[in-house]
């Protein structure tokens, strides 16, 4: 009985070994993102970016087939994020990890990377500090500080001296408030008041009353996309602040393309800064939008996480090329340091020191197109912006 069990075990082991060597030429990439739940649209955009890249650049690198495995993490949940990453590394034997929408989830994965000998390419999670957690992290998205900082100059150039800032009271909101304050004061402006609004605020008219009473010439805002943004922009229009000539500045998260139909005409004239607009005018972006729209299933669902994923896949492809399919995380990461290419968002490069993406930040205005739909129109470019959050550390 015992002997037969041993033989059976050996046989199964042999089978498993056989199957591993037979598929050795398939390199697996594990992507973690919110594919269901309230943030499913962002996960869908991850997938669209990945699929668009593979459709345009083929499914193999140097003869190595690439297989993408998706894992669903519906909301920020560090413990589950870590478990999923472990499962991908141990059970699925992925050579690369990618995706990750929320900062805490990325933070939970970084301690695993060295032992797993796996690089992590972040498609979104936008807090500066992640990059310092592990030398095996590369990021192709943006940081809130990176997209916000140009607003300081923009505001003063438009003759605004006093601004009131109103941000949602959570990590990225506080980051945005600090980044704007620093940039605006450096440009000679003054933040007269800083309001932090609870995340579950439904009615923003009291906030607008405060904006009015503060005597500021403009309001700087940061809120997570979704119902809160809609409520905030509506209140801004309805309480007459727009007519009173109080300007509105915000990072581009507020006017992401998938939210514009809901914001409607009320969004026209809002000024935001961001690294990518779906309307960006370049041949690379045209090709990308076409492929990604097909993958996401509808033009109005396409938004910025897709471009982070697209460029993330570019970085992973370059890593596979450099290591020729062998698992060597450090070599893979070293190979993409300083890498520059033309992304759908414009010229970008991976900063050799911080491993964070250097990119153009655009000032965009929401305008109405000839078809009656609103879109983000790029009106000014701030070239080659690094992450100020990392530069100062």
């Amino acid at each position: 009985m015992k002997a037969s069990k041993g033989i059976l075990g050996a046989a199964i082991g042999a089978l498993l070994l056989g199957s591993v060597s037979a598929y050795a030429d398939t390199i697996k990439v594990g992507i973690i993102g919110p594919f269901s739940g309230p943030f499913a649209l962002q996960g869908k955009n991850f997938q669209a970016g990945v699929e668009a890249y593979m459709a345009l650049n083929g499914k193999s690198v140097k003869g190595h087939d690439i297989e993408v495995i998706y894992r669903d993490l519906p909301a920020a949940n560090p413990a589950q994020s870590r478990a999923l990453a472990q499962e991908l590394v141990v059970k699925e034997k992925v050579q690369y990890l990618g995706g990750v929408y929320f900062t805490p989830d990325a933070m939970a994965i970084t301690p695993l990377l060295k032992q797993a000998n796996t690089p992590l390419v972040i498609f979104n999670a936008a807090t500066s500090a992640i990059m310092t957690q592990s030398p095996l992290v590369v990021r192709t998205s943006f940081t809130t500080a990176q997209t916000t900082s140009p607003l300081g100059k923009i505001a003063t150039e438009r003759g605004v001296k006093k601004v009131i800032s109103a941000v949602s009271d959570y990590g990225p909101g506080v980051d945005a408030e600090a980044a704007f304050k620093k940039a605006f004061e450096a440009a000679g402006g003054q933040v007269v008041e800083a309001i932090r609004m609870p995340l579950n605020t439904n009615d923003f008219s009291p906030i607008m009353q405060r904006v009015r009473d503060s005597g500021a010439e403009a309001v700087f805002a940061f809120l997570p996309s979704g119902p809160t943004t809609l409520g905030f922009v509506k209140a801004y229009n309805e309480t007459g602040l727009k007519q009173a000539g109080i300007k509105f500045f915000a990072p581009g998260d507020l006017t992401q393309e998938s939210d514009l139909p809901a914001l409607g005409d009320g969004a026209v004239g809002l000024l935001t800064t961001f690294h990518y607009a779906v309307s960006h005018d370049s041949p690379e972006n045209k090709k990308f939008v076409e492929a990604a729209t097909k993958a996401v299933g509808g033009a109005e669902q396409l938004s910025f996480p897709s471009v982070g994923a697209y460029d993330g896949m570019h970085v992973i492809y370059k890593m596979i090329e450099a290591t020729d399919g062998k698992q060597d995380a450090q070599k893979a990461v070293d190979a993409v340091k300083g890498l520059s290419w033309t992304s759908p968002r414009g010229p970008v490069s991976i900063d050799a020191e911080t491993r964070h993406i250097t990119e153009n930040i655009y000032l965009r205005e929401v305008v109405k197109g000839p078809d009656g739909k609103t879109f983000n129109k790029e009106i000014q470019t701030f070239p080659n912006q690094k992450d100020p959050g990392l530069a100062t550390q």
Binding site: S205, Q209, G226, D259
Partner: protein, 287 residues
């Protein structure tokens, strides 16, 4: 003074929007004794119907509201027959489990078919303009919400206190077995009250959409707010719900103006204080 008046108007509008959505829940919980956590889900279904009618079919706002109420009530009929009838008079825990299950199903279904993005209900020009009322500019829509709230409160009071149906309803609530024995068809009374409650949820979902935007997670996002309003007002009491909504709306709005950083502190502090003094809510009846 101007600021105080502005805040008072904002608070009143917000309170009235809450009232329209919550009064249906107050009726189901107080009169039918069903803890209906899926109440918000019905408000959301109505929002989707109205959004589809007004935005995609291009129908008028009034038509959209009407279609949303009728459509939601029709959708609720099989749900009432097959699911809610089983939990009338059952322990609260069973009701909570059943209705939260329904909520999750509705969230999943809407997410699957309509996607996770926000759905707006386009307002007619007359309601979407800011109106200058002397000391403040306010959206015409807010005035409309206040008027709706007044009409709903008055209409319900009349229905329950002054009509035949109201008498039967109150009899059924007080003692269903006795009412049944006296010839009141309690099943019909329940079905009609359920339909009225759902219809009110639908109305609230649509006219309140400017405050609480329609998206798949609507029912969960605002569940606590709805339940708090009902428990503070006293389940089943119309004046109670009016007072609770106006008071909580005022506390919330003023708190957010004076100290936005403290967020919900004032709201929940007020709730705790009120429930300590009135454990059954302002006008709750002893059970």
């Amino acid at each position: 003074m101007q600021t105080i008046l502005s805040i008072a108007i904002d608070a009143f509008a917000y309170g009235m929007a809450l009232f329209i959505i919550c009064i249906g829940l107050s009726l189901t919980m107080g009169l039918m004794r069903v803890v209906n956590l899926a109440h918000g889900a019905f408000a959301m279904i109505a929002g989707y119907i109205a959004s589809y009618a007004a935005r995609d079919l291009g129908l008028g706002y009034a038509v959209a509201i009407f279609l949303a109420i009728i459509g939601t009530v029709i959708i609720s009929i099989p749900i009432e027959r097959l699911l809610y009838r089983r939990i009338y008079g059952k322990p609260e825990l069973i009701q909570v489990l059943m209705t939260i299950g329904i909520t999750f199903c509705v969230i999943g279904i809407t997410n699957y078919f309509f996607g996770p993005t926000l759905k707006t209900i386009p307002l007619p020009g007359s309601l979407s303009q800011p109106v200058d009322i002397g000391f403040k500019t306010i959206a015409a829509h807010r005035l409309f919400v206040m008027a709706c709230g007044g009409v709903v409160a008055g209409g319900l009071w009349f229905l329950i206190e002054r009509t035949d149906f109201g008498i039967k309803l109150r009899a059924t609530v007080d003692n269903a077995a006795m009412a049944d024995a006296l010839g009141v068809r309690t099943q019909v009374v329940y079905a009609i009250s359920f339909a009225i409650a759902i219809g009110l949820a639908a109305l609230g979902g649509v006219v309140g959409a400017e405050f609480l935007p329609i998206e798949p997670y609507y029912a969960l996002r605002y569940m606590v707010t709805f339940l708090v309003v009902v428990s503070v007002g006293g389940a089943g009491s119309i004046p109670g719900a009016v007072v609770a909504c106006l008071l909580l709306g005022a506390v919330d709005t003023t708190g957010r103006y004076l100290m936005p950083e403290f967020g919900n502190f004032f709201f929940y502090a007020a709730v705790i204080a009120i429930v300590c003094v009135f454990p059954r809510g302002f006008f709750g009846r002893a059970q």
